[in-house]
């Protein structure tokens, strides 16, 4: 064993308080150290050349560099090692700057401490063995979960890069929430007009396989090599045969709630969500179908000209391999009814949500673009908008901002004036958050052109009086209570993660917050990555977002996926856990604590069942090494013996 020790002066950063010469000469006395010297700037080019030269001259096989924090220059010196022909992991950095020279002023004390630290480094590196990264092959196919605008954007970007994509959507059509919008802010361009061409593109893209009515059930494997079970639910309609003619829907006698239209109007048990649905295929909901409830009907099957209705259809379970996963499960609107009894809690038909209003505004919506009071179908004249219903409200435990409410209220106020010129709109708001390009101008337009009256304050109560709704609030700018008699009240409800996002996150082994929003790996620098390699986030599943942000993030996630899959193989960190199979007793306590499910059971030829580390999954935390009773799992680079030696060295 031939160890070289290099003590960096870091100019005067270290040398001013640590006698690097004395540290070097003390190091020479340590076991197996054959060379030690002090260098002015070790990380500089000449410094590194000095190290490489010494490595050759003294035939070093291990190196200790006493300098700054390894968090600063470990990779630098690992590269130096490689250039010197030494395995990069046979180098140990000792931090005598941040942890020594910079925090002590007494030269004697600091020098003694630096000597201790170097002896610890030498003790540790003595137990080091060469480590080699391994490579795992990468499956080039990508799974995208969720077919909203985020999933669509990511799918198209990745597919355009030539990689096969499977887009899994839980509902009967892609398009997501954006497809339900009438217009988009701040440009007021038609939502369908910009989205539906993209939806059709997905349908026809040669690299995209679209699976609607499908859900991800189980995810196994790891970055580059996920294995996913996808359940395609039976819809009683053969997707291949259905032409989307909608005759079944017209003839179907069973009414069913219209979820696409947020409960405004009804649809049929067999139906197509909306005219631009992709795929344009009917699906049957058994829970509303007369055939399944009463046992007698079958009209849809009789009338279908394409013979596409198949009551015997069963769920299909597909198991597929993917190299990367993009989660784009989006959001849903906060269910306000429980939390806001003082707004009637759903008792008053003329208190509706903004998405219900949006559907009324839509020319292809259930009211044909006419704004109507649900109670009597009359055209409302006085319309009150409430912002932040289920957002920024500590009293119901929801401090988060929905991010889009202010803007879509402005949009709906403007559209209201267009639809009903003699209408009057009031907006109760907390603050107007209009921080996007053209956003502030847009909300001012709602005030100036559409005449919306903005009242700063929360609404305390809504109650019916003589066929109208009294909206009691406060105008905190004037400092007075305000009462507005409204024909229609529209609640800008907050944004929640999509139902089931939390349980999906658990299946994917990625963290999520108390609202079910999925957590990014780093809020600033890794905003589309998750803490699990190979799984990325796009859109509102990560937190409330508007359309431009969603699309930008989707493209960013796509870029990350393309980078990942541009390699045939992935290099894995060698600083991971390793089981000594000969001595494993097969108790699998390691598996219980592993946060990455990186330990699997394997049978040996002699019949023993032992633990095996899946190298590409292991992140090197070392939890298993402590859980292992006979300590036969070691964490490479931090083995028990290395740590024991490191500790013992300083205490001797």
């Amino acid at each position: 064993m031939r160890i070289g020790v290099f003590v960096c002066q870091c100019g005067t950063n270290i040398a001013a308080t640590v006698s690097t010469e004395r540290v070097a000469s003390a190091a020479m006395a340590l076991r197996d150290v054959v060379h030690a010297e002090s260098i002015q700037y070790t990380c500089s080019d000449p410094g590194q050349r000095t190290v490489i030269a010494a490595a050759h001259k003294y035939a070093l096989d291990r190196v200790v560099i006493a300098a700054c924090s390894p968090r600063m220059h470990e990779t630098t010196f690992q590269r130096t090692m490689a250039q010197a022909g030494i395995n990069p992991f046979m180098m140990e950095m000792v931090n005598i700057r941040e942890h020594c020279s910079w925090i002590h002023s007494d030269m004697e004390v600091a020098t003694e401490k630096a000597i201790d630290l170097v002896s610890m480094g030498v003790a540790k590196v003595r137990g080091q063995t060469p480590l080699f990264s391994s490579h795992v092959p990468v499956v080039s196919e990508v799974l995208i979960i969720g077919g909203g605008v985020a999933g669509i954007q990511a799918a198209l970007d990745i597919a355009d890069a030539g990689m096969p994509v499977t887009l899994v959507e839980r509902g009967p059509t892609i398009g997501g929430n954006m497809a339900r919008l009438d217009k988009t802010f701040p440009t007021l361009d038609c939502s369908s007009c910009i989205l539906t061409p993209r939806m059709v593109e997905v349908k026809h893209h040669e690299n995209i396989r679209l699976m609607v009515n499908s859900e991800v059930e189980q995810v196994r494997g790891y970055i580059g090599n996920f294995e996913v079970d996808i359940r395609k639910k039976a819809t009683c309609v053969d997707e291949e045969k259905c032409t989307g003619c909608q005759i079944c829907e017209q003839k179907c006698p069973s009414e069913a709630p219209d979820e696409f239209n947020a409960g405004v109007g009804e649809t049929k048990a067999i139906s197509i969500a909306f005219p631009q649905a992709v795929p344009l295929v009917a699906s049957l909901r058994k829970e509303y179908c007369r055939l399944y409830i009463k046992g007698k009907c079958g009209i849809c099957k009789k009338v279908c000209p394409a013979d596409a209705v198949d009551y015997e259809q069963e769920d299909e379970l597909h198991t597929e391999k993917f190299g990367a996963i993009v989660v784009a499960t989006g959001y849903e609107l906060f269910d306000w009814r429980q939390a806001y009894p003082h707004y009637g809690g759903g008792l008053y038909p003329d208190v509706i949500t903004s998405i219900q209003y949006e559907r009324m505004l839509s020319a292809s919506g259930p009211t044909g673009g006419h704004i109507q009071r649900p109670s009597d179908g009359a055209e409302p004249k006085e319309i009150v908008f409430l912002s932040c219903v289920g957002s920024r409200d500590e009293s119901i435990g929801r401090p988060l901002c929905c991010k889009v409410g202010c803007m879509y209220i402005a949009k709906q106020a403007i559209l209201t004036r267009e639809h009903i010129p003699d209408s009057r709109t009031y907006v109760f708001y907390m603050d107007v958050r209009a921080g996007g390009k053209g956003y502030d101008e847009f909300y001012r337009r709602a005030q100036k052109e559409a005449g919306a009256v903005y009242l700063r304050g929360r609404v305390g109560k809504i109650y019916p009086r003589g066929g109208k709704l009294v909206v009691m609030g406060a105008d905190t700018l004037v400092g007075e209570n305000v009462e507005v008699e409204a024909d229609l009240v529209v609640l800008a409800t907050g944004i929640d993660a999509a139902a089931g996002a939390g349980s999906l996150a658990q299946r994917l082994n990625i963290p999520y917050d108390q609202y079910g929003f999925l957590s990014e790996s780093h809020p600033k620098l890794r905003p589309v990555e998750t803490t699990t390699g190979g799984i990325f986030l796009a859109g509102a599943c990560q937190g409330p977002k508007d359309i431009p942000e969603t699309v930008a993030q989707a493209s960013a996630a796509a870029a990350k996926v393309i980078v990942l899959l541009s390699h045939d193989e992935l290099e894995t960190s060698p600083m991971i856990a390793e089981v000594n199979h000969m001595r494993c007793i097969g108790c699998f306590k390691c598996r219980e604590v592993c946060p990455y499910h990186a330990i699997e059971e394997q049978g040996l030829r002699d019949g023993r069942r032992v633990a095996v580390v899946i190298e590409s999954l292991c992140q090197g935390c070392g939890l298993c090494t402590v859980a292992c009773p006979p300590s036969v799992i070691s964490l490479r680079g931090y083995t028990d013996n290395q740590l024991i030696e490191e500790v013992t060295a300083v205490l001797r």
Binding site: P629, P630, D640
Partner: protein, 308 residues
């Protein structure tokens, strides 16, 4: 006796062997035995000298269908072994026996001579024909008894004992002395105790939860937690390893201390740890089949982040 013979015979119909006790012809007290057939089972006994915890054999009989005679304390070990997947419940037939405390045969022998006749009947203990105070000769481990009757069994042989009156549960004989010591005094206490250790590993061998066996880290070089020297420091490290490895797993059966040939009060350490675990996690090893070992799980909401 107690129907133990018939019960074992019955259980043998569905198992490969039954772990139980027989009477040692030389000493006249119970010794562990394996019964493979009806003939062997004729020799089975259960009496107050059946101190051994037979669960220690289970992890090495994974491939067999095993019957085991278990007292209340032994049953806790059986439960813990099932929780840790070392024993398959389906492979196991537990013959529960009620236990009214065990005799410390070694103590009797020391006082009255090796092999002296012991007759233990309903509240009267006759040693060599002489009636003695039974309380004086019961096993140390029975003082802290948690369970007289097994919590897990397929069949009960004989009669159950019933609930243990809590006032009979006594701490370790050295407990009061030990807790009065300062940390420095405890250091010397342990140094003295461990200086007597002869590194026989009996504590490990009798422990049902020490199933690593020949790969035990007490004796390995990789990793090298304890050195090979037979001295107080290394022996102490060995016990620290044991205590650590038994965290949340020790069922308090007391076998280690019973087996220690030099009488080191090992249960002082384990009792304290079990107590701490009970306090921290409301957890007692071997108390319930449904429990999850407390150091293999965590609870974001309940774990208190007091320190730091």
């Amino acid at each position: 006796m107690n129907g133990i013979v018939d019960t074992i015979k019955n259980v043998l119909k569905e198992t490969d062997l039954v772990l139980g006790w027989t009477t040692d012809p030389v000493t006249g007290v119970a010794t562990p035995a394996r019964f493979h057939d009806e003939k062997e089972a004729e020799q089975a006994v259960f009496d107050s000298t059946c101190a051994h915890n037979l669960a220690v054999h289970l992890p090495r009989l994974k491939d067999s269908r095993v019957g085991i005679v278990a007292k209340g304390c032994d049953a806790r070990s059986v439960i813990e072994l099932i929780i840790e997947h070392e024993v398959q419940r389906e492979q196991l037939a537990v013959i529960g026996v009620g236990c009214g405390s065990l005799l410390d045969v070694k103590k009797i022998w020391r006082r009255y001579g090796y092999g002296v006749a012991i007759k233990d009947r309903d509240d009267s203990l006759l040693i060599g024909g002489e009636q003695v105070n039974r309380d004086e000769f019961i096993q140390r481990k029975c003082h802290g008894c948690l369970e007289a009757d097994p919590d897990i069994y397929d069949v009960i042989a004989g009669e159950v004992t019933g609930e243990i009156p809590t006032d009979t549960v006594r701490p370790h004989p050295l407990h009061d002395m030990f807790v009065s010591l300062t940390p420095a005094e405890r250091r010397s206490f342990w140094r003295e105790q461990f200086s007597r250790c002869i590194r026989c590993y009996a504590c490990r061998e009798v422990c049902p939860m020490c199933f690593c066996r020949d790969v035990c880290i007490m004796q390995t070089q990789i990793p090298r937690w304890a050195g090979g020297a037979v001295d107080a420091k290394q022996s102490e490290m060995i016990q620290l390893i044991r205590v650590n490895h038994l965290a949340g797993r020790c069922t308090g059966c007391g076998e280690c201390e019973r087996a220690c040939p030099v009488g080191i009060p090992l249960m002082l350490l384990l009792d304290e740890q079990n107590h701490a675990i009970e306090e921290m996690f409301a957890y007692g090893a071997g108390a319930s089949l449904k429990a999850r070992p407390p150091l293999l799980v965590f609870d974001v909401n309940k774990d208190i982040w007091g320190k730091g």
